[in-house]
Subunit: 340 residues, 4 copies
């Protein structure tokens, strides 16, 4: 292992510690994925309980790791911490050959205030991670403002391009209310972004990796599941990292194709409804099915459309048990149209 | 095993199938816990994929099981299905000796429309279960009304007495949007009710127990975790069932003591603020700490109180790092006061 | 579920209880696999702690189940219990359509004395199961004779046609010494039969399924792993049972092809050495490699051959880093020769 | 993390790499346990696939780690590698304060040839580890001699003082036959030493930590269980390492008290039978019970004694369902006698 300390900004006391696995001709895997660890501490400090120990969990699965000690509030203000992340990623990209890091497989994990910063990398960063893990993240005004004023509330910045997220929280968290995790998840839902959310009945603030190593028994032992589970999820999103390279991902970062270059039945109804008349003509048979169902159930057509607008056209046709070749023909027609 | 079919209502075609484990002098455990299974099917049918197979999972952990086939919409209307549940529980209570069932350890698990009914047993039933598991439950108007008009939206009926819940859903559920699970969880949060929530990035509607036995590969294999995890959770809430009887529960059904006969530091700030002047006098030193923090951070006192009102007094004092004996004395003073 | 009681022999008080899963047009899987449960009890009784409860574990994974209550020693003697198994299998085969059982996917699980009987079905039965699970099995003379005189010691009857086995035992078993499990495994090793063996440091006799439901705390909680792990193993050996039928097996029942109709590089060296001169001519280049290695390391050629005789020719060529096409050509030559 | 390289012997090219976790006032655990990693490679090289990557697994559970690169056969001969271990332990002891290592909690893990060396530390070292993990270890003459001549066969050196062992192997290991693991386990059984043994049907030589990171798919995915399982086992043997220090161990390193300063009912029958006449007089009632059982079953008394000689007196009395106070009185009498 090589451990490299890089000062990002002397004055602001920001730095990153990069942990690089031993390489050897005995491994045949090519470049490795990277996990960036953002410790918590209310932007007042960076907790040692959420730093190197977390990096070790992912290194044990073959990840390179980087613990980022970002700008604290006595040395700066927002958006310094997000800029620290951008600076770190830039530096990592510049060293990606030397450090054996695959820039297409970058994940972030953050805790509490670091979970706020992680959620900001997912929503606001120029170079968004491929996957983000938020552990008891601060999202909502009451707790975000208590950390530091002037910072964004990440749920307000979620859109089609937000990174897929894995969110963990304790229901009885006495410091960062579990609602933070839920409101952020709801924003992801609305935008069609893929996410996992795991809330445990008992897990006080600061459970970190959730094992006996860190807990004094005031939590459910089930908490110890989240790290290994998140590693499997990362493999689903980014492709499992094996001795012979990455496998294919099995889960898409977005639930729909609203951001693809051409329209398709994988676009959300919401997105299709916003398109030009040509598209609406193609879609007519679908609309008629929806109208028929609305009438049959005594709903307004507009109400039903709104209720199902986040589903893809394909999903909606599935509910109507539409024949596969009909779906195929519709898809071909839609794919003629550029998505602008 | 004994399997007993009980017709609840011939006309409405409602019935329950009770599955009783083999008993023997070789077991020393006393009465067993019971799981009541509510299959899904949009109140139009009761799916075989969410009935006996589910019962078997919990029987393998020692539970007696009961699959309830409730009133479908062509035979009746709300509140028939909830009444079916009440009738079933009454019949079970009447046979609890014969059937070796401990009436203090009743859990319910429901799927989709059955998840709606499960959430209604948690909120509206006269004899609420000790624990409720809701799998891709229908909660919100759009989907609930689509099943059958005139039914309650369970999130609107959550209060201090709601049963603790374990909620599971697939983020890409194309039929019952994942928001149903989240909005119900948020209602539980507000009311101080204990819950677990697990949303998986990929798990289409109808994954049932989530194993290869039921899935055609269109979901994450991680889904198979939820049944065993829910069994551990049931043990945390109701006490693990062992060869020598029940162990002590490790998680309380409510986060606070707002429903206990006397006040204590385990009550929520919200509940304490509603009490009489005597209580407010006792609480004065706590309020002063809150006021000091508000001033230090440039918040309004009322705003800060509102932000933390769902926490218990003990949790709030923990944040202020109050000495244990000071907390003890405050608790003694509060416990003099009846909770009315 | 249907539960069918079949008396095998009134006089000997032998019977089987068959548990059949609910079938429905909602399932699409075809015929199901079957697990036959053989409870322990020293051939003096059939323990309720190792009967239906065990059946339930495998039913929860989609298996049909059969608890066989075989001839006890006050009603008969060896080979009655093995004959009971044969009779049961015959009856199951006769009902396989009615009972929806795939006769190519039969597994047996036995405990203690039932583990002895299970090991006998793997070695001595006319219709051997596709897979056998032996839990703290009685194998060796001291304990087998103590149960009942005149019974076979299963390790002495292992050969190429023995069923693959999954063996579990507690190292501190105070009744059936753990050596029973190990000696049986060694016999399987010698014969080239596939097996899993799991010995846990702490697991007193009679832990059955190894969960809190059955244990009073005198064992490692890790014991609870064996049932789910054995279900995965059954899937590896017989093919995972899914909603759309069986997947392909991933592990062969035998390590070599010594029982196949034609010779190949998958045969063990031991088997090849016993063949005629034609075969020996084909094998000459391999023998020369072995001789060269023996000389280089100062071993006798015969000694080295004996040491590696249980490996397949392919494995041995792998150690010599032989080119794939050379292996292919050798294989083609060997496959010309019938295996007699 | 601090990584310290220590050259043990320049000429023999032996060295150890010590990995020390980040310490901080935020941790409250006292000194940490240590894992010593012994890579495989036939005493010809030290495989990178079984070195740092293994250390990382245990570090993620809070262990300090040490990868020992011992004397290879081109630089020396037996007992150099064992001496390297002793030298390493001595150096670790000398730095135990500085390196924050608890010398009462030392574990060793070794692979293949390193598994041979690990088994030698368990049996032959002056400072034996508290627990030893052997992964596809070389134990028997054919493979040990092929590595290097003149080395001991660890199974021949097992006695009462051997360290408890956790042994893992692949049944189809084409290089180190699985019999190595079984014969070593049988020696541990005979000596009353605690062990776990896990043999997987499919796991070719060199699977290391058994995850996709290291495997190209030629093994059962169940192999990935062994590292986490071994960490739980280490906690059972040495006490779980938590944020507030070590918990009590739950498994004793030896099954009996044959090595304790005074006799007791926890001694094995074998050990008691070797004692003087005074002891035999105390034991008379026990011998009579055994004699009665032998007669009832038509065994010879000597044969039955031999069959059960590895059990403790207490276990034997348990089989006879002896009253607890009778066991207590016998124990008191035995404890008067020094164990010499």
């Amino acid at each position: 292992m090589k451990i490299i300390e890089k000062v990002l900004n002397q004055e602001k006391d920001t730095k990153m510690t990069v942990y690089l696995n031993l390489e050897s001709p005995e491994f045949h895997h090519g470049k490795r994925p990277l996990i960036v660890v953002l410790p918590g501490g209310g932007y007042s400090f960076c907790s040692d309980r959420e730093s190197e120990l977390v990096a070790l969990q992912y290194m044990a699965a073959g990840y390179q790791a980087c613990v980022l000690r970002y700008t604290l509030k006595d040395k700066g203000s927002w958006p310094d911490p997000l800029n620290d992340y951008e600076q770190a990623i830039e530096m990592i990209a510049a060293h990606s050959d030397e450090w054996n890091i695959d820039m297409g497989h970058i994940a972030v994990v953050g805790f509490s205030a670091g979970g706020h910063l992680a959620a900001c990398t997912a929503t606001l960063a120029k170079r968004k991670p491929q996957a983000v893990i938020c552990v008891y993240p601060a999202i909502l005004p009451d707790i975000v403002d208590m950390c530091q004023t002037g910072m964004p509330y990440p749920n307000e910045h979620v859109d089609d391009n937000t990174s897929p997220c894995y969110i963990v929280a304790g229901r009885d968290d006495g410091l960062v209310n579990v609602n933070n995790a839920m409101v952020f998840s709801q924003a992801l839902e609305k935008a069609g972004v893929t996410f996992d959310l795991h809330i445990y009945s008992r897990g006080q603030h600061g459970f970190s990796i959730g094992t006996p190593l860190i807990l004094d028994g005031e939590a459910t032992p089930r908490l110890a599941q989240w790290v290994p589970d998140s590693i499997v999820w990362l493999g689903e999103i980014m492709g499992v990292f094996t001795d012979t390279g990455f496998k294919e991902p099995t889960i898409r970062p977005s639930l729909n194709a609203d951001a693809e270059p051409r329209l398709s039945v994988e676009c959300s109804l919401r997105h299709i409804l916003r398109q030009n008349e040509e598209t609406q003509n193609i879609m007519r048979p679908v609309y008629e099915k929806i109208r028929a169902m609305a009438e049959a159930r005594n709903f307004s057509y507009e109400g039903l459309c709104a209720a199902i607008s986040s589903y893809t056209v394909k999903e909606i046709l599935g509910v109507f048990k539409t024949a596969p070749d009909e779906i195929l023909r519709l898809n071909e027609a839609l794919q003629q149209i550029p998505n602008i």
